[in-house]
């Protein structure tokens, strides 16, 4: 409620309807903003032209911390490939779009990259935007490359969607078997309350119960939440043998709080545990996790570190690897003198099937099969305690 006495005269102008001139200015401005995207006209490809691919990542908003790590991975892959002469002599270029983690922005970005830039392949992240783009990818025959999200539904979302990392269920099945065979019979679940986290929760529950384990409790955390003490206390009092953790961020603070509390249960998880903040916290000593073979060769990791001044973590190596895999597929398309289209890249991926570029991966389906290890963390190092070989 506004009190009438408090309005001043100079607001009078505001009340008058917009004049013709402001209206015109506004419309011009609008036209300019919309047209802005169209300025970069797609050109005919020639031998020296860069090969342009797209990437739609959450570069701002709540998921941005992960999105930026993924972007680093792509940038690293591109710079190494180009330093080595590009793909068949042509430099590789990735056009980045920010979807803020929102499916609708992802759709706009997808259409922009495809219809204005003519990219045949788009890297994506997170289940939500990726699932939203999947039907479009099918319709437009554009290859969509998910290098990080592990929700089960991604495996069958589109024939053009390739997951360069196994879905979480594959890792979790391995983990559940290992735990039972080592006498761990009861478990609690701490998961992130989003698509990936709740899928992981369901997968673990199903896999662990199937091999005879019992789930004695589950607690969600919201993305970015860092105070885990109440949940940890609750678990500590119900005394499970293990606590299965499915978080994509905030693992550092979790390790700190575990270190302070020293609970009786063992912490177990998936490849997400490959987080430097977690590894460097003394709290992570003794933790077990499955690990898709993601350790980049030492030379590559060192080069990554010198480029960005941060350790090559999970997302960095996954997206670098995805870049390498796709580059190899594109190289095959070029070698066969076919146009670089989504359809041809897709065919090339299945033709090559077994990739051994940075991290070994096999594409029998749209989802990569990779070597899954069980690793134990000790003093910031991961020690493989059991390796499950490919095939």
């Amino acid at each position: 409620m506004s009190s009438p006495m408090h309005h001043a005269e100079h607001t009078r102008a505001v009340l008058a309807p917009p004049t013709i001139s402001t209206r015109r200015t506004v419309l011009t401005l609008l036209a300019a903003t919309i047209g802005a995207g169209a300025l970069t006209v797609p050109r005919r490809a020639s031998a020296a032209d860069p090969i342009r691919l797209g990437a739609i990542l959450p570069l701002t908003g709540p998921d941005a911390s992960v999105g930026i790590q993924q972007q680093r991975g792509l940038r690293f892959g591109v710079s190494r490939l180009n330093a080595a002469g590009g793909i068949a002599g042509r430099p590789l270029e990735i056009l980045y779009e920010d979807d803020e983690g929102r499916p609708d922005q992802a759709i706009i970005s997808f259409n922009k990259l495809v219809s204005l830039e003519g990219v045949p392949l788009i890297f994506s992240a997170f289940s939500g935007p990726t699932l939203a783009m999947a039907p479009l990818a099918t319709r437009k025959k554009i290859v969509l490359v998910n290098g990080g999200a592990q929700a089960d539904r991604l495996a069958k979302a589109s024939p053009y969607l390739f997951n360069t990392i196994p879905v979480a269920a594959d890792e979790i099945a391995v983990l559940a078997k290992y735990l039972i065979s080592n006498g761990k019979k009861t478990a609690g679940i701490l998961y992130e309350n989003d698509a990936g986290g709740s899928a992981g929760r369901n997968d673990f529950r199903a896999a662990f119960e199937q091999v005879g384990g019992t789930i004695i409790g589950q607690e969600p955390v919201t993305f970015g939440q860092t105070d885990y003490r109440p949940m940890l206390l609750k678990f500590a009092s119900s005394k499970p043998d293990v606590l299965f953790v499915m978080l994509s961020d905030g693992l550092g603070p979790l390790a700190d709080q575990i270190y302070q509390m020293k609970p009786s249960f063992l912490i177990v998880g998936t490849s997400f545990f490959n987080d430097p903040a977690l590894l460097h916290s003394p709290g992570s000593n003794g933790w077990l996790h499955t690990q898709v073979k993601i350790k980049a060769p030492t030379a590559i990791a060192a080069s990554f570190k010198s480029m960005f001044n941060v350790d090559m973590e999970f997302w960095g190596s996954q997206y670098s690897n995805a870049t390498y895999i796709m580059a190899q597929a594109i190289a095959r398309v070029i070698a066969q003198k076919e146009p670089i289209t989504g359809e041809n890249i897709r065919q090339a991926i299945f033709d090559i099937k077994t990739f051994n570029v940075m991290l070994p991966a096999v594409f029998a389906t749209n989802t990569a099969a990779m070597e899954i290890d069980i690793a134990r963390i000790q003093d910031a190092q991961q020690h493989v305690v059991q390796a499950i070989k490919l095939g």
């Binding site: 409620m1 506004s2 009190s3 009438p4 607001t11 505001v14 009340l15 309807p17 917009p18 402001t22 209206r23 506004v26 401005l29 609008l30 903003t33 919309i34 802005a36 995207g37 169209a38 300025l39 570069l59 701002t60 908003g61 709540p62 941005a64 999105g67 930026i68 972007q71 940038r75 980045y96 779009e97 920010d98 803020e100 983690g101 929102r102 499916p103 609708d104 759709i107 706009i108 997808f110 259409n111 922009k112 495809v114 219809s115 204005l116 289940s127 939500g128 699932l131 939203a132 999947a134 039907p135 437009k140 929700a151 979302a157 309350n193 989003d194 698509a195 986290g197 709740s198 899928a199």
Partner: protein
């Protein structure tokens, strides 16, 4: 072409939600930051009904509208009892509760991973399965919504809402029923948001809780702020500009690591600048 189509389709959908927000916030002066939640209920209703083949698109859209009418009346009720900032907090809370419900009510909403594979709209056996048809559908509904908004604004009801925004006590003293008018405005805004939600669901074929969270509510407000309150032109310009902004800002050349944050920061700076220098938005009235 698809880029422009998808832009226009989403913009036309957001114009409808924008009209809803404008009606509630700009016209009736009910400062709600939970419009995205109502939008989401519309989307989930249509998404659920179509995915499970309960009914056709049109009846589902009508049901979504009706449900959101009721819901928006319910969530606006506290504003009749508490005023100003108290309602802002209530509204923030409703938004958070809605997100929690979208995320945790797995059976209906698909939980955090959302509803995927929502079938396209069908109108009397005619499937709206490509971008052109979708644009025609959303465009027509947008025009109907705009017409409705214009009719409302010209009617005595519209004048009544404008008066309520300024001074509820004076409206009551003039013998008019403030409570009823507010409830009606909320209900109408609910219908707009619900219908828009339904269109959103069938166009994207995928919905998840993150689309209807607090950030989305703030985005809806930004549209009203930029476009301008209480005018049809403002309600149309707002969504078009806000959806084009990321594309326009992407042209500013910045190091990739900071570009993204810079862009979001620019949104914030725009909000401040508009409030300082152009509180009436591009083509509207003072908020």
């Amino acid at each position: 072409m698809d880029f422009f189509l998808s832009y226009f389709i989403l913009a036309s959908i957001f114009v409808i939600v924008g009209l809803s927000t404008n009606l509630l916030v700009g016209v009736a002066g009910i400062f709600s930051v939970s419009q995205a939640a109502v939008f989401g209920v519309g989307a989930y209703t249509v998404g659920y009904l179509l995915s499970n083949d309960v009914m056709g698109f049109l009846p589902a859209l009508v049901l979504a509208g009706a449900l959101c009418l009721l819901l928006n009346v319910l969530v606006t009720l506290p504003s009749l009892r508490v005023s100003g900032d108290y309602f802002v907090v209530t509204s923030f809370g409703i938004q958070l509760l809605a997100t929690a419900a979208f995320t945790n009510w797995d059976g209906i909403t698909g939980g955090a991973s959302g509803l995927a594979g929502i079938p396209p709209a069908d109108l009397f056996g005619w499937s709206v399965d490509n971008s052109y048809k979708t644009l025609a559908l959303t465009g027509v509904i947008m025009c109907i919504a705009c017409l409705g908004f214009a009719l409302i604004m010209r009617s005595p009801f519209g004048r009544l809402l404008l008066a309520i925004r300024e001074d509820e006590l004076a409206v009551a003293a003039a013998g008019r029923n403030v409570l009823r008018a507010k409830v009606e405005a909320a209900g109408l805004a609910g219908v707009f948001a619900g219908v828009a939600g339904g269109l959103y669901a069938v166009y994207l074929s995928f919905i998840d809780p993150s689309t209807f969270d607090l950030n989305a509510s703030v985005l809806l407000l930004t549209m009203v702020v930029l476009g301008g309150a209480r005018t049809l032109a403002g309600s149309i310009v707002g969504p078009f500009v806000v959806l084009a902004l990321p594309q326009a800002l992407a042209m500013i050349d910045l190091p990739t690591t900071v570009a993204a944050s810079a862009r979001q920061g620019i949104y914030g700076a725009l909000l401040i600048a508009f409030m300082l220098f152009r509180p009436q938005g591009l083509m509207g009235r003072r908020l």
